[in-house]
């Protein structure tokens, strides 16, 4: 499956970035020029390495529900920051900002974007995941 995309990826690799704590360059998968913001209801938390992932249902204007996912840092990184597998629970409503998958799939990477912003000294308004009351969750700390 990977080899099928090798030729396409050759052109894409030029713009790869390597975020400080990522274990691989994610620019090939997620487009740093395509940050988007989505709000939805958490359905599942995948508390794993090498990337924890949050799944959430997003309802569009027509009422159609799509399940989105956002890729975060490794579980070990998040735990060393004081987060755990219960920091978010299914049913909570979150607003997520991340780079979208180059395939166009409903998949985001929040970590790469957060690292870029941190390098630029951005302010806390740019937290990747926030609850409805504005509380950030699962962010770098």
């Amino acid at each position: 499956m990977m080899r099928t995309y090798a030729a396409i990826l050759a052109a894409v690799t030029v713009g790869l970035t390597t975020p400080a704590a990522a274990h691989h360059a994610v620019g090939g998968e997620y487009d740093p020029n395509k940050p988007i913001t989505v709000t939805g209801t958490v359905t599942k938390i995948d508390w794993v390495n090498p990337h924890a992932r949050i799944y959430f249902d997003v309802k569009d204007a027509t009422g159609t529900v799509t399940n989105w996912s956002v890729e975060l840092a490794a579980r070990v990184v998040l735990e060393r920051m004081g987060w755990n597998g219960r920091s978010l629970k299914p049913g909570q409503v979150v607003t997520v900002i991340g780079d979208q998958a180059r395939s166009g799939a409903p998949m985001l990477n929040a970590r790469a974007r957060e690292n870029r912003l941190a390098q630029d000294g951005k302010t806390p308004e740019e937290y990747p995941i926030t609850l409805q009351d504005g509380t950030p969750v699962l962010n770098n700390r």
Binding site: M1, M2, Y5, A6, I8, L9, A10, V12, T13, L16, T18, A20, A21, A22, H23, H24, A25, G28, E29, Y30, D46, V48, N49, P50, H51, A52, R53, A74, R75, V76, V77, E79, R80, M81, G82, A101, R102, S103, G104, A105, P106, M107, R141
Partner: protein, 253 residues
């Protein structure tokens, strides 16, 4: 009078706690907070025998700047580097990283002893893969014929306060870095690990690969130690969905 005594003792305890070195992980402080305060300060910790204590969790930085040695690459090796598709890095598929490549995940040294003499040293890697390197410390030599492996065959010994690790028998599959810097089965590495003080570890690595480079060179890996941290479980194959549904042209469902 008794209340005054209790209050004085409590105050003294609080003052003592507050004035402790801020760069050692305190209870209530996360590991990432402790790391941001910088490496703990103090002399090299030693075992009762006088040998440097290498037992703390260590974080490697600067995984060896190979780009600066590109000019030493032989034409065939340079051609491999130029052709490599960075998305196909074996690291992305949970394969081992070979010395001196580093990851954001810590390592820890463990020694196995018979009586007083170490027989094996094991370097446990938390990630990128949850693996270990085995270094034979019993004075044996490298076998004359070796079938290549990812981590190679390592022998080690102390030279004063430095652990020396000599490794041969590597396969050519791992990449030295995310760019795809190659090596061959002729790779021979010599690492010199020294704990400089309580918070700093240094590894000077000689890279000697006559199949890929015109001459040997050295890279230096700096590392910091944290006190009170543990190696955590990191099973790369668990949630590794690298490339699944995210790459251009892949199905979006």
């Amino acid at each position: 009078m008794r209340k005054l005594l209790v209050v004085s003792v409590m105050t003294a305890v609080c003052v003592t706690l507050l004035t402790q070195s801020a760069s050692t992980q305190q209870s209530g402080q996360t590991v990432s907070q402790a790391r941001r305060l910088g490496p703990p300060k103090g002399p090299v910790p030693r075992l009762p025998s006088g040998q440097p204590d290498l037992s703390d969790v260590a974080w490697l930085a600067s995984g060896g700047n190979f780009r600066q040695h590109d000019a030493l690459l032989l034409p065939a090796a340079k051609a491999i580097l130029d052709k490599r598709d960075v998305t196909q890095d074996p690291h992305n598929f949970c394969m081992p990283d070979v010395v001196p490549r580093t990851t954001p995940f810590p390592i820890r040294f463990f020694f196995n002893y018979t009586h007083k003499t170490p027989t094996h040293m094991v370097i446990v890697h938390e990630g990128n893969i949850h693996s270990f390197r085995q270094i034979f410390m019993d004075g044996r030599k490298h076998p004359p014929e070796l079938d290549p492996t990812w981590y190679g065959h390592s022998i080690g010994w102390w030279e004063k306060d430095t652990i020396v690790i000599d490794t041969v028998g590597f396969n050519d599959k791992a990449w030295f870095d995310g760019r795809g810097t190659p090596h061959t089965e002729q790779l021979h590495t010599i690492e010199r690990w020294t704990r400089l003080d309580l918070g700093r570890l240094e590894n000077k690595v000689t890279i000697d690969d006559p199949g890929a480079y015109s001459k040997p060179f050295e890279v230096t890996i700096n590392a910091t130690t944290t006190i009170g941290d543990e190696v955590m479980e990191y099973i790369c194959q668990d949630g590794n969905q690298y490339g699944i549904n995210t790459l251009p042209g892949s199905p979006t469902k």
